[in-house]
Point group: C2
Chain length 204, copies 2
């Protein structure tokens, strides 16, 4: 006789999870709510995913991929300092567009699978290379971590509502990024603020 045909898919399940996460936070990502959204009963989800934690990890991974696709092209600007600033501002814009998912990317996961995603994207090859172009190859990794840590910290505090002492928050972010990029530039290799004609990889 006819075996039951699949009524949903892993992608659909993850997409439903992302919607619920953005709409109501992690606590709204219930196996029951996800199941209802994809037109299935909760136990069926376990054909696609081992657990709710695995679902959250899958959401984090999908988000990390989106973020990576958003940022990567920006690292190619021949003006390395401008590229680094652009990446930082694009990260913040992404976080504003997907606040809960960005939070999840860094923070929420129990167990191991958690920040793997975030670290792989945000301190990944293209960003480290870019940081090396700005700060000099000897400090590539440290410079990437410096910018990443600032951006992540600023945005997470901002999303959590930690900036309630007034002041222009956009301006504070721009100030921070400018200070960082300028400092890294002047410590790093050659011309700090002069755009370079093309990427260099071993400048003194």
């Amino acid at each position: 006789v006819s075996p039951a045909r699949a009524r949903t898919s892993l992608d659909e399940v993850v997409a439903a999870g992302r919607d619920l996460l953005e709409a109501g936070g992690p606590e709204a990502v219930t196996m029951l709510a996800v199941a209802e959204r994809v037109g299935v009963k909760a136990p069926s989800l376990y054909k696609r995913l081992a657990s709710r934690d695995a679902l959250l990890a899958a959401i984090a991974k999908a988000t990390a991929e989106d973020l990576g696709r958003t940022l990567e092209p920006l690292t190619r600007d021949p003006d390395a300092a401008a590229a680094l600033r652009a990446v930082a501002h694009a990260f913040r814009a992404f976080a504003h567009a997907h606040p809960r998912a960005t939070d999840l990317l860094f923070a929420d996961l129990p167990s191991e699978a958690r920040t793997t995603a975030a670290s792989n994207v945000l301190v990944s090859e293209p960003l480290i290379q870019l940081a090396g172009r700005v700060a000099g190859p000897a400090h590539a990794l440290e410079a990437a971590r410096l910018v990443t840590a600032f951006a992540r910290g600023f945005v997470s505090m901002e999303l959590a509502g930690a900036f309630r002492l007034g002041g222009d928050v956009d301006e504070a972010y721009r100030y921070g990024i400018d200070v960082l990029v300028d400092a890294l530039s002047s410590r790093g290799g050659g011309g700090a603020r002069r755009p370079r004609a093309r990427p260099v990889s071993g400048a003194a």
Copy 2:
């Protein structure tokens, strides 16, 4: 007849919650586990706290107070740049000593009560004044946010295990703090690295 006498207290309940949090993460902070620890049944906890969220908020608040007490004295060093570096390193040490609680301070809370605590401590009066001494009064708030965001971002990524590309993590933090403090100093008011005899509050 004799009314039942109190078998525990709010302080004891919060202390039990902090122990459980540090030992097993937020999911280990169960009303049942807390109740067992203080020698009471779970429903009795609701005489002290409105909800589990209120317990987490109380834990965050207590942690914020500890952190504030740890950092505040360091802001008094007449050498403002040295003081700012010391605050940053002390914050990281605190986070290493109380990783789950520090995470909670910034991230975990549902509802409103959450990051109130963190923001009130980490971007509070003494820190803003200190940042103003380093970067000049016009940029006090932005400079405080810059250092705070970096420290919070770095430490949270570190605690989440996001730094697995090798490199000396201690050194990366020191590098970041030094770059930041130097950059703020040279942008800010008067003598960047020369210690000042006593705090100033309105330097050009």
